[in-house]
């Protein structure tokens, strides 16, 4: 029995052809998580400390993206953005844009919660020692805030990876789509290809959870050492 369908579901045509399957899900989840974080920090800062107009814009951006279903966001980026700007976008890129927007809005809230959970006593103590506002922010708020937001970020990473399952609706050959294709081509393997789909998401998701858990423990450990 050939296992072509299995490798098709895992890596697509890679390394000879275009990548696909689970590889796309992992790649998109990782890249959109990082890109989202890059956009999330300025968004969170604008929402926390921006002026009236910029703060309102950041809040509106975050709230609109957070309350739009991801599948609708995908349709916006894939079918409607090309109409508006007049350029065709390949499916993978529209999925990337949609997931980046989505993850930047969610992570902006996580970053904001992390930064505002730093006790005001810490900030006041730092100001009392004569540090400037930016010094306080860089040396006190950022390190503690990042540490506090690790659990939420880790669980968001897991949910972002799960959410990459939706991108198949715009025609990206990811794990879902390749599983559906495999099930369609050999109907007797339908059950097994669905099981492989579920197992692919579950195993990678658990690995991400585990990494998040380890990271959390480690960051808490350094905090303990510092406080002792």
């Amino acid at each position: 029995m050939s296992l072509d369908w299995l490798s098709f579901m895992m890596i697509g045509g890679w390394p000879d052809g275009p990548p696909g399957g689970l590889l796309i899900n992992i790649g998109l989840a990782v890249s959109c998580f990082l890109m989202g974080f890059i956009f999330a920090v300025p968004l969170a800062l604008l929402r926390m400390a921006g002026g009236r107009i910029s703060g309102f814009c950041a809040t509106a951006f975050i709230e609109v993206l957070r309350s739009t279903p991801l599948i609708l966001l995908l349709f916006w980026c894939h079918f409607l953005l090309p109409i508006i700007i007049g350029i065709n976008i390949p499916p993978l890129w529209s999925a990337f844009i949609a997931l980046t927007l989505y993850s930047s809005a969610y992570q902006a809230e996580i970053v904001r919660a992390g930064f505002s959970s730093v006790p005001s006593g810490e900030v006041e103590a730092a100001q009392a020692t004569g540090l400037s506002k930016s010094q306080v922010f860089i040396n006190i708020v950022i390190p503690q805030g990042l540490r506090r937001m690790t659990p939420a970020s880790a669980s968001f990473a897991v949910s972002l990876f799960k959410d990459t399952a939706v991108i198949y609706v715009v025609g990206v050959i990811d794990l879902m789509q390749s599983g559906l294709i495999a099930a369609e081509r050999n109907p007797n393997k339908m059950l097994i290809s669905y099981l492989v789909m579920a197992a692919g998401f579950a195993v990678v998701g658990m690995v991400i959870s585990l990494i998040g858990y380890k990271l959390e423990n480690r960051l808490n450990f350094t905090r303990k050492v510092v406080s002792e």
């Binding site: 309350s67 599948i71 609708l72 409607l80 879902m176 059950l191 669905y194 998401f201 579950a202």
Partner: protein, 251 residues
């Protein structure tokens, strides 16, 4: 790069397209409502399994939560629609296949299973978050085990759980849009249908997006108000003591 699109809002007002959108809204609410109710029931069952003293209930429930929380909602939807009738006995499977509303049922069940896992986690955390002091206080007042739960522990747990539960409900409402992949005629499906029939998807999708945003914001602010109210009464001990439902024996 220039804006070349001309809006034509009269398309949405045409009755055939308007009906798609109105039916879509109705189906979205139906899916969201029933799957939320069902997922809370599933959540209660799994959470009580995990909290039960019998270890043969604990580990299957824990294992289920550990696995199922990593499986996407779209997978459940496709699984219940395409695979579930196949693994049933032939006669039952073909009945399901030929039944017109099976897609709707599959979507509701799939979303309930997806959401139920999270709900069970939230409920369990809520019960665990009640400090042992409160538990012991209830016990030392002489309340029976049932009274402890009904009068003290469950109301406290509800207060802890409600914000997270409201959040999940909004999420579930948004997830109802995933049911379009199996052709349930809900709002997102309606926008795509209008797009493919009239090439006027932009207007329809704009309307749908605004609908989702407005409903999410309304629900969010209602749950926020409720949360504030519950929290404000939490700290007035007088109110709690004057409650007639809490009949503590005074001897």
């Amino acid at each position: 790069m220039e804006f070349t699109y001309e809006f034509d809002w009269s398309v949405i007002a045409r009755h055939e397209y308007r009906d798609y959108l109105l039916y879509g809204v109705a189906y979205t609410f139906i899916i969201a409502f029933f799957s939320t109710i069902l997922s809370i029931l599933i959540g209660i069952v799994i959470a009580s399994g995990r909290l039960s003293p019998v270890k043969y209930f604990v580990w299957p429930c824990s294992a289920w939560v550990g696995v199922a929380r990593h499986i996407p909602a779209v997978f459940w939807i496709l699984f219940f629609y395409f695979v579930f009738p196949e693994i049933l006995p032939d006669s039952l499977g073909s009945i399901l296949h030929s039944w017109g509303s099976y897609a709707l049922l599959a979507g509701i069940v799939a979303l309930s299973i997806d959401n139920g896992t999270y709900v069970s986690d939230i409920l369990r955390n809520g019960v665990l978050a009640i400090s042992s002091g409160e538990r012991e206080a209830a016990k030392s007042c002489g309340l029976t085990s049932k009274q402890q739960w009904v009068c003290c522990l469950l109301p406290l747990a509800t207060r802890i759980v409600l914000p997270a539960l409201a959040n999940r409900t909004i999420h579930n409402f948004k997830n109802s849009s995933l049911c379009m992949v199996i052709g349930v005629t809900e709002l997102t499906w309606a926008t795509q249908q209008i797009e493919s029939l009239s090439f006027r998807g932009l207007e329809a999708t704009l309307v749908a997006t605004i609908f989702y945003i407005v409903i999410s914001l309304i629900f969010g602010s209602v749950s926020h108000k409720m949360e504030n109210r519950l929290n404000s009464c939490r700290y007035s001990a007088k109110d709690v003591l004057n409650k007639p439902s809490l009949s503590v024996p005074t001897t």
